[in-house]
């Protein structure tokens, strides 16, 4: 794929945003390629991922409002204190856990141990497993592997809930 093909495809993927936004985005990426230099075209395209990925990121931000963004920031920076995206967060943790069976086993062991205990409060406390902060930390490596697969979003972990949804579509 050449730079021109990339930009053309990107343009064709943005029919539903205002003309001004489309032109801005295309001008930006055209300039970006120019500044990176002809020799780097392929590297840049690889980095950007596909035109559809770039289009999705542009649209995601256009369709979000300030509250969305604040929530996203809140979600990543304050982790488990956030409740708005509980669903999505749980989903991500679920994905991460697939790679960390040890974590699961540890949890079950704990559960079994506490079952012996007449005081059931620990095992019946369902929030232990769904507590985002705890599990996310425990399965950091799995999370990172996941990020790498979705290279375009690596840093933008604030987009992670959208990220998961996008992976499903792919």
């Amino acid at each position: 794929m050449t730079k021109l093909e990339f930009l053309k495809e990107l343009e064709s993927l943005l029919p539903d945003i205002p003309l001004e936004e489309r032109e801005e985005a295309l001008q930006y990426y055209n300039g970006y390629f120019e500044d990176a230099g002809e020799d780097n075209e392929e590297v840049i395209m690889k980095e950007l991922g596909s035109p559809s990925k770039v289009a999705a990121i542009i649209k995601a931000d256009l369709n979000s409002n300030a509250t969305d963004r604040e929530s996203r920031g809140y979600f990543t920076e304050k982790g488990y204190q956030d409740t708005i995206y509980k669903e999505e967060k749980y989903e991500i943790i679920g994905t991460a856990n697939k790679g960390t069976t040890n974590q699961e086993e540890t949890y079950h062991t704990n559960k079994a141990d506490s079952a012996k205990n007449p005081n059931e409060s620990f095992s019946s406390n369902g929030s232990y497993n769904t507590n985002g902060g705890y599990n996310t930390n425990g399965s950091q490596n799995a999370n990172r592997a996941n990020d790498t697969n979705n290279a375009g979003y690596t840093n933008g972990t604030q987009y992670s809930y959208k990220n998961t949804q996008q992976s499903k579509n792919n």
Binding site: Y32, G49, V54, I58, G152, G156, Q158
Partner: protein, 105 residues
């Protein structure tokens, strides 16, 4: 890096990077500069720059460069106020975290 960068921190970093160039700077260079500090993909910054521009924290102008127009981003007074706000927040945040970490090393 194992730590996440939230959207507020990313905004703050972009504003800080642009503010270092009084004459303005352009998308490709901003991306490279931000990447000195955090892992950010090439496609992450466009929406951030566009939004900061719409919020009047950045202003843009086109300047001829190498036979074409290059778009430059420059921080506005409003952007400076926002950047200072972010910096104060960041300072108080990392100080508190550092207190917790004291003695770890």
């Amino acid at each position: 890096m194992v730590f996440n960068t939230g959207s507020a921190l990313l905004d703050a970093i972009v504003l800080a990077v642009v503010s270092k160039e009084p004459e303005g700077t352009y998308g490709y260079k901003i991306t490279q500069d931000v990447r000195q500090a955090i892992e950010v993909s090439e496609s992450t910054l466009y929406p951030v720059l566009r939004r900061l521009q719409k919020e009047d924290c950045l202003e843009v102008y086109d300047l001829e460069f190498g036979g074409r127009n290059r778009r430059y981003y420059k921080i506005t007074d409003k952007g400076m106020v926002q950047l200072k706000f972010y910096y104060d927040e960041w300072e108080s945040y990392f100080k508190k975290i550092n207190i917790i970490f004291e003695g770890v090393k």
